[in-house]
């Protein structure tokens, strides 16, 4: 009897089984549910009207975050926020994150103690894959499925096959987890061997990554069509979660004889910064090939790369320099905690001094429905996760995806620039 991957083990535990195999459908207990301003009110409507209940299952952490629309910028978003607040009040939700106390849902989930190794966590948003960076099985679901989780604390799941990426080599200076991911998706393509599968990142180069960079990688497995991304918990994970000593968890690891559907070996020791060019995420080039492309905007933020470490790398590059006069740099910390830390340690001061426009935590321009959109014909280099046509504004605008370091270097030069010079 072969062993199981960590995704299989976690799903077995959550469905009260000793063994599960890929392809099997299980009914799994879900530990926490994330929902946002976009779908929140609708979820409660399904709960009441289609499921005929207004009782939320005990023991489920329901986290409701206002993030996508930013501070209300028109009447429609103001109405949506009002509906969210009313629902949160009606249900007495203890983990409702309103403006000024919030962040991007995915960030809040990880930093506020709702995600632990070995747990199953769902979110009504595709980038709920982020939480796998802490050793959980996490994935995006529909609002209807969210309502079912609210009512029952459970969801049916197909146990996915796992594809493993073993990443080795010392990552060169100014090259990050984002670059590793862009390299991998450029290699495997959207339609690669990971569709509907679990993607496990392992190897010395992953162990060397910070939790923040691991989150950027698991965040983006959604772009590969994967079900979930996962990284084995280690000392760094434990340190990251040390603020919640009351929450005990078991680190679930893959068995040495676990079976993988595909395995890839990736050596990053000579990796250069990567850039995903319009309009396909899997169209990835080394920064050398696209350097010099004129930009109008640089965007540093989102659930992919809006963390403290990301802001600090940008500040390192921007310290004593100015954002290019033809460019606006928009910086959006991913959460209030990050914002506060960045204020306290001087990062925000350096960025503002350099000419960055710093916004309150939210998704902002990432999905083209908050602030910071780009106009027709404009070019933006962005630390976000999607560069589909028109994602950030006008249909004929262009988005290049890159690491925070590359975004900052480009903001300085006014063109796509190699951060290794700084």
């Amino acid at each position: 009897m072969p062993g199981m991957t960590m995704t299989e083990k976690i799903l077995a535990g959550a469905s009260g089984k000793k063994i599960v195999r890929p392809g099997e459908i299980v009914n799994a207990r879900v530990n926490a549910l994330m929902m946002t301003d976009l779908k929140g009110p609708y979820v409660f409507k399904v709960l009441e009207e289609e499921l005929g209940t207004s009782k939320i299952r005990d023991g489920l952490d329901v986290v409701f975050v206002l993030d996508h629309l930013g501070p209300a910028h028109d009447i429609k978003s103001a109405q949506q926020f009002k509906a969210c607040r009313e629902a949160a009040r009606k249900y007495g939700l203890p983990h409702f994150y309103d403006l000024g106390r919030q962040g991007i849902g995915h960030q809040v989930m990880c930093e506020d103690g709702y995600v632990f190794p070995g747990t199953v966590v769902a979110g009504i948003d595709s980038h709920s894959t982020t939480y796998g960076a802490l050793g959980a099985v996490s994935f995006g679901i529909s609002p209807t499925e969210g309502a079912i989780i609210l009512a029952t604390g459970e969801l049916w799941l197909k146990v996915p096959e796992t594809t493993r990426f073993t990443v080795t080599g010392n990552l060169p200076r100014r090259v990050s987890g984002k670059d590793i991911f862009l390299h991998i998706i450029g290699m495997t393509k959207w339609n690669g061997e990971v569709l509907y599968k679990a993607v496990e990142f392992t190897g010395p180069a992953i162990s060397a990554l910070s939790v923040s960079d691991r989150m950027a990688m698991c965040n983006m497995v959604a772009e590969m069509g994967a079900k979930n991304g996962i990284i084995a918990p280690d000392d760094k994970t434990a340190e990251y979660l040390a603020g919640w000593p009351e929450k005990r968890y078991d680190a679930v690891l893959s068995d040495p004889d676990a079976v993988y559907s595909h395995e890839y070996a990736v050596d990053v020791s000579s990796l250069s910064p990567r850039v995903s060019v319009p309009h396909r995420i899997d169209d990835v080039r080394p920064v050398e090939d696209v350097a010099g492309r004129k930009i109008d905007q640089a965007f540093l933020g989102s659930c992919t790369n809006g963390r403290l470490e990301d802001l600090m790398i940008a500040a390192e590059i921007l310290k004593g320099r100015k954002v290019h006069p033809d460019v606006r740099l928009i910086v959006v910390p991913a959460s209030r905690k990050i914002y506060l830390e960045a204020v306290r340690n001087g990062t925000i001061e350096i960025l503002a001094e350099a000419g960055a426009a710093v916004l309150t935590p939210n998704c902002a321009a990432c999905a083209g429905i908050g602030s910071g959109n780009i106009a027709s014909g404009e070019v933006c280099i962005s630390s976000t996760n999607r560069n589909f046509e028109g994602r950030m504004g006008a249909k004929d605008s262009e988005i290049y995806l890159a690491s925070p370091a590359t975004v900052a270097a480009s903001a300085v030069e006014g063109v796509i620039a190699d951060p290794r010079k700084y």
Partner: protein
């Protein structure tokens, strides 16, 4: 619901979401999941005769290759359209995630079966046992093993949808007590 499904096969190697229902029709009916309207357009982008033949009873089972319903869209129009014309089962080498979930959530059984594409020809009659995963090609005599559907998924099929199934469960138990044996962390 009968766990054994028997019927003639319509077969196509590569079927994306936009093949099941065109983007145009889906956009025109964004918030209107009317089976009568959607059914008429089922599979039209790759087979103009599909809807009329299915409704005439020429076939009721779809057999396909890898990544059935791929293309990364979460809308449910395709599943509604297939059910509307009388499709009772889809068997494929593999399914795109949204499509797999949408099908089960809307009460259309789906079986993932290695080797099905080469073991069945269009027009063959097959018999699938959802609870054991055994698929027999009654025309050729071949037999294959698919991943079976567990009891509660069969319950969803019986109820017609995931929400209807859960609603009934909640009504029967009178509480929101979960019925799986998973350990709480």
């Amino acid at each position: 619901m009968e766990n054994i499904i028997r019927g003639k096969v319509w077969k196509h190697g590569k079927v994306d979401t936009a093949d099941i229902i065109s983007t145009k029709i889906w956009l025109e009916n964004l918030n209107n999941l009317d089976p009568d309207i959607l059914g008429k357009h089922a599979m039209a982008p790759i087979d103009k005769e599909f809807a009329s033949r299915a409704m005439r009873g020429d076939f009721r089972i779809i057999v396909s290759g890898k990544n059935f319903g791929g293309g990364g869209k979460s809308f449910e129009h395709g599943v509604i359209a297939l059910k509307a014309v009388g499709i009772v089962l889809v068997v494929a080498e593999s399914f795109a995630r949204y499509n797999f979930r949408n099908s089960i959530n809307n009460g259309l059984p789906v079986l993932e079966c290695n080797g099905i594409f080469n073991a069945v020809e269009a027009g063959d009659e097959i018999e699938a046992d959802l609870s054991t995963g055994v698929i027999k090609n009654l025309t050729s005599g071949a037999a294959l093993q698919a991943d079976p559907l567990p009891e509660f998924v069969l319950g969803i099929m019986e109820a017609g949808s995931y929400t209807a199934y859960i609603r009934e469960q909640l009504r029967q138990t009178g509480t929101n007590e979960a019925n799986c044996a998973g350990e709480t962390l």
